[in-house]
């Protein structure tokens, strides 16, 4: 009997402990979609969502009104997940053939820039004046949106940059590089640091709203928080055992979403959630096949899911 009571007490404390840090996914807004999305992102501070569908058309939704616009901009080829970015005025999309297209919220194409490599990632600065471009074989590049010209290219020992982000204040660029380093540049292209990462490649980096903290994740399957000023690792989650392709940090820093891929198929295998007060990288109880994007607004983390071919939902992760 004593053993049973002890076990019961342990079970209750275990359930309470897990319930106290359990996360919920709450529907926020439903959006009408005229096509099946391939990939979608949250724009600016969460005012809009932009997406690329399976026939390479661009969609834009206003989250406050649910208003939807469809832009047929004649993309030359498929778009890699990650090669779509937006702010409050500009949408940037890059193709596997190396074409970067910049359009405004009316769907008017402002720039088309042809690169010679597959575009694998894009990130706009706040205000949309600068664009960080990742490609399949080269280090990060920073482009001036107004002129459509390249300001500078970064450096690596031998590899391409997988994911790059521009700091909210527009003064720094952070790159997750295939040679396993995380690099920081100032906005003029001067290398500030190259911080050694894990033994396997980092695939993505995300910057907190205050610009002080980076979340970095990749083939090791864990998420690191790093000091953005030095690159020093502050905290590290457990590994999920599979590569993490995309990572996004909440404005409040303490929580992170991660798109986990199956290491064999490289298809979505889970959505990781990490509360940095703990070490465990948990998985949300959502079907990863329905997740087409992740992002943040002022309040926290958001998931974008394809409910049906005609419906998207934006959900808050708490």
């Amino acid at each position: 009997m004593r053993k049973v009571l002890t076990a019961l007490a342990w079970l209750v404390s275990f359930v309470l402990a897990n319930a106290s840090c359990a996360q919920t996914v709450k529907p926020m807004v439903k959006l009408d979609a005229s096509g099946e999305m391939y990939f979608a992102v949250v724009c600016g501070d969460g005012e809009s969502v932009a997406g690329v569908d399976r026939v390479n058309d661009i969609h834009l939704w206003n989250l406050a009104t649910g208003g939807h616009r469809l832009f047929k901009v004649g993309l030359d080829a498929q778009v890699d997940p990650g090669a779509l970015a937006c702010d409050q005025r500009t949408i940037a999309v890059g193709s596997v053939q190396g074409m970067v297209t910049l359009l405004d919220y009316d769907g008017k194409v402002r720039q088309r820039v042809g690169l010679k490599e597959e575009v694998t990632g894009l990130a706009l600065s706040r205000g949309g004046s600068k664009l960080a471009v990742s490609t399949a074989n080269s280090p990060v590049q920073l482009w001036d949106v107004a002129s459509g010209s390249r300001d500078w290219s970064g450096t690596t020992s031998f590899a391409n940059t997988y994911g790059a982000r521009i700091s909210p204040d527009g003064k720094s660029v952070f790159a997750a590089d295939g040679d396993t380093y995380v690099r920081a540049y100032d906005i003029s292209g001067k290398l500030v640091y190259a911080a050694e990462g894990d033994l396997l490649e980092p695939f993505d980096v995300s910057v907190s709203a205050d610009g002080k903290t980076l979340a970095v994740a990749g083939a090791e399957g864990n998420v690191e928080l790093r000091d953005s000023a030095t690159g020093k690792v502050l905290k590290k989650s457990t590994s999920c055992g599979n590569p993490i392709f995309l990572v996004i940090i909440s404005p409040k820093v303490l929580t992170v979403l991660a798109l986990i891929l199956d290491e064999s198929t490289l298809h979505p295998a889970g959505i990781g959630y990490w509360n940095a007060n703990d070490t465990e990288l948990k998985q949300l109880t959502v079907d990863p096949k329905t997740v087409v994007g992740m992002g943040t607004d002022a309040k926290g983390l958001l998931l974008i899911r394809q409910d049906s071919p005609a419906k998207l939902s934006v959900e808050r992760v708490e």
Binding site: F158, N160, G178, D179, L199, L200, E201, S264, T265
Partner: protein
């Protein structure tokens, strides 16, 4: 002891069987001779690094490595080649990282199985013993990753493919696909004729561009 070509040339000059014209030194004459013999080569096409490159692969002694362990399943594979620059000069000491899946298409993430780091020999030569890598769902083609680095040259990140891969239907030139960027990276294989120890042999020359 086997003399190097440079030593042999020096000896020939010393013995008078090779005479140098006015203004030539032994060193400049030898270098000019070698340059005249070299054939410019196109740079090896680049390919994607990853995923699953891993830093810190232990260095194998010399220009040879053995990636497979005794008893490993899979068709045995021997890969050999030479590291050149685009002028056709060999690059002794070039650092070569290779990594691949096992025969079932699995990378070793936690350790360094089927990964090696070796240095090209004095004639730019390298070789390694492995197994033919397996297919895995994210990639259509069997492949081996290479990262080659030599002083004064751009690092080369590339992959080698196999003409025997069913994806090419026996004719890589006609049946290329988007998983392989260049037919030049697709290498024929030669099967050894010993039924009991049959293995595949392939050559893969690695040509780096100057910085």
């Amino acid at each position: 002891m086997e003399l190097s070509r440079r030593d042999l040339f020096s000896r020939c000059v010393a013995l008078g069987v090779v005479k140098l014209g006015a203004g030539l030194t032994v060193a400049t004459a030898f270098d000019s001779w070698l340059r005249a013999e070299t054939v410019p080569r196109p740079a090896t096409p680049i390919d994607q690094l990853g995923p699953f490159y891993k830093r810190g692969t232990p260095e194998s002694p010399g220009h040879s490595a053995v990636l497979r362990a005794q008893g490993d399943p899979g068709l045995q594979l021997a890969v050999a080649g030479t590291v050149y620059n685009t002028r056709g000069e060999v690059l002794p000491g070039a650092k070569i990282d290779v990594w691949q899946t096992n025969h079932q298409g699995r990378y070793d993430i936690t350790g360094y199985r089927y990964r090696a780091m070796l240095r090209a020999g004095m004639k730019g030569e390298y070789d390694f013993q492995s197994v033919v890598p397996g297919h895995y769902p994210a990639r259509k083609c069997q492949h081996i990753h290479f990262l080659v680095q030599a002083e004064g040259h751009k690092p080369l990140v590339t992959q080698m493919y196999f003409a025997s891969d069913p994806i090419f239907k026996g004719d890589p030139a006609k049946n290329m696909n988007d998983d392989c960027p260049s037919v030049e990276l697709v290498r024929p294989i030669l099967l050894s004729d010993q039924a009991t120890t049959m293995g595949a042999n392939a050559t893969f020359e690695l040509v780096l561009e100057s910085q």
